[in-house]
Symmetry: none
Subunit: 210 residues, 4 copies
DNA sequence: AATGAATGAGCGTTCATTCAT
DNA sequence: TATGAATGAACGCTCATTCAT
């Protein structure tokens, strides 16, 4: 092992973690590469031995964590049969993961969305896979007769994602760093009723019943 | 109202509209003040007679439209008694308003969120009022016995907002410019079941009870 | 006339002159745009209102002066019939022009040749026109029976150009700033009569031996 | 000579040859030391075991080849008595040497002249010796009565050098890699007999009238 | 009120060089 | 001797903002 103390992969991680911290604190545009280098305790040029550009650094944050998250979520699901339990598990992981690293959450909820370009990249990549997972859960719930058959799994998946995402963003923006996971129960509560429904639930569309 | 006054306000609107178009097309950071000036057919310096800064221009877009939106939504609600009808009306307006002006939608869903600073401003301003409105609808629905009493109005409001917001963002990002309003029905469908519930809905948390 | 004191074209000239001075002193690569701006007493950004890039600045030096030089040389020639007089006039102008502005000469002899790209641009542009002029002079001299009929006008033109160019470069490199024009006479002398002179003009090598 | 010594010198040559190729292809400034290292198939740092700096690398190209060239030219001369034959031999070697290695020619004609500093180094070093040689040839030609006695050997030497140099540069810049040596004959022709030739050698202007 | 020429701070990236192994 | 990861100084260019007219 040469000049550096850490292996190559370890240094990559170090830089990435530093980038998350700096981006979270100053915002992507407010952050200078020099800040990231300083935070990672490497020279400016060293950053470019591990990442192609500032943008690549941001992209890497996404790839590194979102990938892993979706995989873990899928594995969680595989262990559970009931779609309600699955949803519970996935959303819990979602909230817990981000609550555990507020800086990372900030980058995910804010910095990664600063442009259509990035939003699209996310939308077509990891988020799309996440939505896919949610959609599968909904669909399997429907075919098991646990979720209402009228559900449009695509819209339902987006509703679920939108709901969690909004909660997380609100948490990131709030000054008091607390209580993300506590919102899991009420969130699920609303979602389950929406998904499960009941036979006696006179449809909304049939307004003006006797 | 003097002629000058009218001209002044009109020019302000012209600039603002130009800004929306330019921000939507190039993104806030990609857009140069010169681009906005050109789009509004005024000189660079003239922008500063109407707006303090580039940021102020973006802020003004928000204030101008979001304000009006929330007010209109409140007025809509005042005319309706059933919380379901109210929600229907508000969300319909939400979707229709943005579908009618894709550039504006782009600015709202993307450009206004590129930094914590702006997100906070939004969150504390118009979005907060919007959430407040939703919360009131939910609360009144609960007290009327139409929505489930277990609902946490705060979380429910966020879930609703998150869901619509996610749908709009997906629409903005999609290449094919179509079909936002069509998602209203399935959206409401999921939300109403979530909000209304039914007596036969054994709660998820209380699984396995007699 | 706005903020500045000078007209737009005048300021362009000012910047260009400053660039010539700075490039001559520090070399193209050694010169920073900031140096040029300072020398022209304008802000850094102002340079870019008049020139597209650092490279464009260098190119402009060429265009501005070389163009004019070739035109003047052509006009000089038009007034004279004897090709020897013409050559005399052209080369005199060449030497005098550059001797009058050593900084400009430096840029022409050195900085404009720092890369194949620039050399090609020069070679295909102004220098090519200059060579063309020389070639025409030689050709007309030949057809008038004043210059030897065996001459290859193309090679002759290059020989002439190469000779003057070398003298100028040597002068630019020499520390003592003097005496460029004085070399006109011996230069013409060699060019007109070559090395061998008349009486000994039995051909060199195998040609025309008794 | 130890095996190590031989290997060392051989690697030096390898690097130097690589440098010539890379400098010729990308230009001195466009070439990165890494490119040279890669071309020589050594590590970046290894270059610095053989050369002090990038500049030193360029300088070494000059020293290595120009030195040898001048020496060979001198040796050629020593074998010949007639100054015309000598000039013929020297210029032939000049053209042939460079035609044989276009990359080297490119470095000599272009890269070595990108700054006053380098031009001066060349002018004071090898070129100065070359000019000295040419001057001696001219001078001996004059004293032998073969060259005209009016010649200024210094100026004549520069004219000769400038002429060849210009031809070589034009050849380097031309896209079609052909025909440098073919220009020797017309070049010598002009140099020996000048433009005017014998019969018409009535002096130009007032000079040398009866 | 309107103009638009001028300003100048600010930053991502490159690459010659070093040095621990 | 050779390596190549690490260093960090250096710079062209952009663009929001100002202000003389």
């Amino acid at each position: 092992m040469a000049r550096g103390e850490l292996g190559k992969e370890a240094k990559r991680k170090t830089i990435l973690a530093a980038a998350v911290r700096v981006f979270a604190e100053k915002g992507y545009f407010g952050a200078r590469m020099r800040d990231v280098a300083a935070a990672a305790q490497v020279a400016d040029g060293t950053l470019y031995l591990y990442f192609d550009s500032k943008e690549d650094l941001l992209t890497a944050v996404l790839e590194e964590h979102a990938q892993a998250f979706v995989e873990r979520a899928r594995r969680d699901c595989a262990r559970l049969a009931d779609p309600r339990h699955r949803l519970h598990a996935v959303l819990e992981r979602h909230l817990v993961s981000l609550e555990a690293n507020r800086a990372l959450a900030t980058v995910f909820q804010i910095e990664l969305r600063h442009s259509r370009k990035f939003l699209r990249r996310i939308a077509k990549g990891q988020v799309s896979q996440y939505l896919q997972l949610l959609q599968e859960i909904v669909a399997s719930g429907v075919s098991q007769g646990i979720f209402r058959r009228e559900l449009d799994p695509k819209v339902a998946a987006r509703v679920i994602f939108g709901a969690v995402d909004e909660l997380v963003t609100a948490w990131v923006l709030s000054q008091k760093p607390s209580g993300l996971k506590e919102q899991l129960a009420p969130l699920l509560e609303v979602l389950f009723y929406g998904l499960c429904g009941s036979e006696s639930n006179e449809a909304h569309g049939k307004r003006g019943e006797p």
